[in-house]
């Protein structure tokens, strides 16, 4: 049986004050799958990312990256994970190259090997000719692409992206979505040809490819549905993912037992 690239089990988190940001969240992200973490604003997506990257520790439950619990073996888990955060994290005053070299160093990749990989990644993202420019001079789409190139330098087998298209125009969004799908389809990140697993958080339903993607629908800290997009729509009794999403995230509590206690919150 294949070990999931990411496995969340019984995940709960509270920032204190009684409200649960996540409640018993459980789902998996399998190698080669483009999994969309769908949820309206405030559903708990960013909390989930903070837990998955070890920035926060869950109140209960765990996140395993290729079988390594992020709380217990953070080094092993982080070594296999590439992350693109929602907020921009590049140093604006440094060049693209300097930013990427810094990140490579954080993963212990030596200078020569780093330069080789950076060149390959930037070429693949059609960003190589901008390598010597300061990030400040780049537009939003290019900055995002540089962040994706950066997240792939250590050849992770899991790529986490937290609302990566925020602030991008439509062409840049399309390019980004297409590129990450291509990564997922085995467009050769890892030398061993392993297909990368992607967890892509968004609240924009049109970023999903309804035929091939997997979805995890998160609403008010709970996983409402997860699985292949067609299966999730069918289970919700809807024709499209968009309808299923609307039904699953309706403010009115659904009849499932999972929504008990929500009215009190």
């Amino acid at each position: 049986m294949t070990v999931p690239a990411l496995e969340a089990a019984g995940l709960r988190h509270s920032y204190g004050g009684g409200r649960m940001a996540l409640e018993d969240a459980a789902f998996t992200v399998m190698p080669g799958h483009f999994t969309c973490l769908l949820g309206p604003n405030g559903a708990g997506k960013s909390t989930l990312f903070a837990l998955a990257t070890g920035l926060l520790r869950p109140t209960a439950g765990h996140v395993r990256i290729h079988g390594h619990d992020i709380a217990l073996e953070p080094g092993k888990a982080l070594a296999r994970m590439g992350v693109v955060f929602q907020q921009p994290t590049l140093d604006l005053d440094l060049t693209v190259m300097q930013n990427l070299r810094y990140f490579a160093a954080l993963h212990g990749i030596g200078r020569r090997e780093a330069n080789r990989r950076i060149e390959a990644e930037l070429v693949r993202l059609s960003l190589y000719e901008r390598a010597g420019e300061k990030v400040r001079a780049l537009n939003g789409g290019h900055r995002r692409r540089a962040e994706i190139a950066r997240a792939l330098l250590h050849r992770p087998s899991l790529l986490l992206l937290d609302e990566p298209t925020v602030g991008l125009d439509i062409p840049a969004r399309r390019t980004l979505i297409r590129h990450v799908h291509a990564l997922c389809a085995g467009d050769g990140t890892g030398d061993d040809g392993d297909r990368i697993a992607v967890l892509w958080a968004t609240h924009l339903i049109d970023e999903i490819d309804p035929a091939t993607d997997h979805v995890v629908v998160l609403h008010r800290g709970r996983v409402r549905a997860s699985g292949a997009a067609p299966a999730v729509s069918a289970a919700a009794g809807c024709a499209t993912v968009a309808e299923a999403f609307d039904r699953l995230t309706a403010t009115r509590p659904a009849k499932e037992s999972s929504s008990i206690g929500e009215a009190a919150a």
Binding site: G42, S46, M81, D91, Q98, A105, G108, H203
Partner: protein, 266 residues
Amino acid sequence: MTIWLIALRGIVAREVLRFVHQRERFLGALVRPLVWLFVFAAGFRAALGIAIIPPYETYIPYEVYIVPGLIGMIQLFNGMQGSLSMVYDREMGSMRVLLTSPLPRGFLLMARLLGGVVVSVLQVAAFLLIVRLYGIDLPTMAPLTVLPALLLNGLMLGALGMVLASTIRQLENFAGVMNFVVFPLFFLSSALYPLYRMEEAGPLLWWLCSLNPFTHGVELIRFALYGQLDGQGLAVVAGATLLFAALAVRGYSPARGMGSRAPAAG
């Protein structure tokens, strides 16, 4: 082993690059102590006579006395500024990137701290050059002998800044930290006036100055400039560094979150 060194080099190089690219920050770091030296010290020279106290062997003009204090000031501002910028969201973003490294968090934070110290040493080097051009005599070897003291004092102040950045939530702007941290640390120290002068002013002031770890950092630097070791200063600064560093690492532990704050909703 090499992985650690590569990461350490990368983190320090980034701090230096960032500093070099921010010209205003470099100028600001230099102008502040120079104003004190050229204006304050020149004016104070007539008002304040200083007895012969170690490590000085003769009567010294006030400008000479104040140099170690201003070096301490450069490091104080650098430590507070570098670490407090972590509080801001953009910095929180780069902090997240730092913490996605598979290396232990304590190591990453200490490497980042060391990067800030290296930047402060560059600032001090530029300051010492101007001091020499201004005509203040220091031993020829002073830039070398002072280096270990600069490293330790920089680590202490940087770690203190990290502790503040991770624990004190209200002081998100630099003005607050100026009033409640930087000014008390600076004025209640031996940076501007010798401790014996404080003793004459009153026992409480003297007591506060003696307890202030910044006083000991300044004295460590003062003796090191003249090729001497201030044993008490070394002990206090080393102890305070360990304490602050431990608190800083604890403040950024995953169990308590990124300085205990919730990420942006989403």
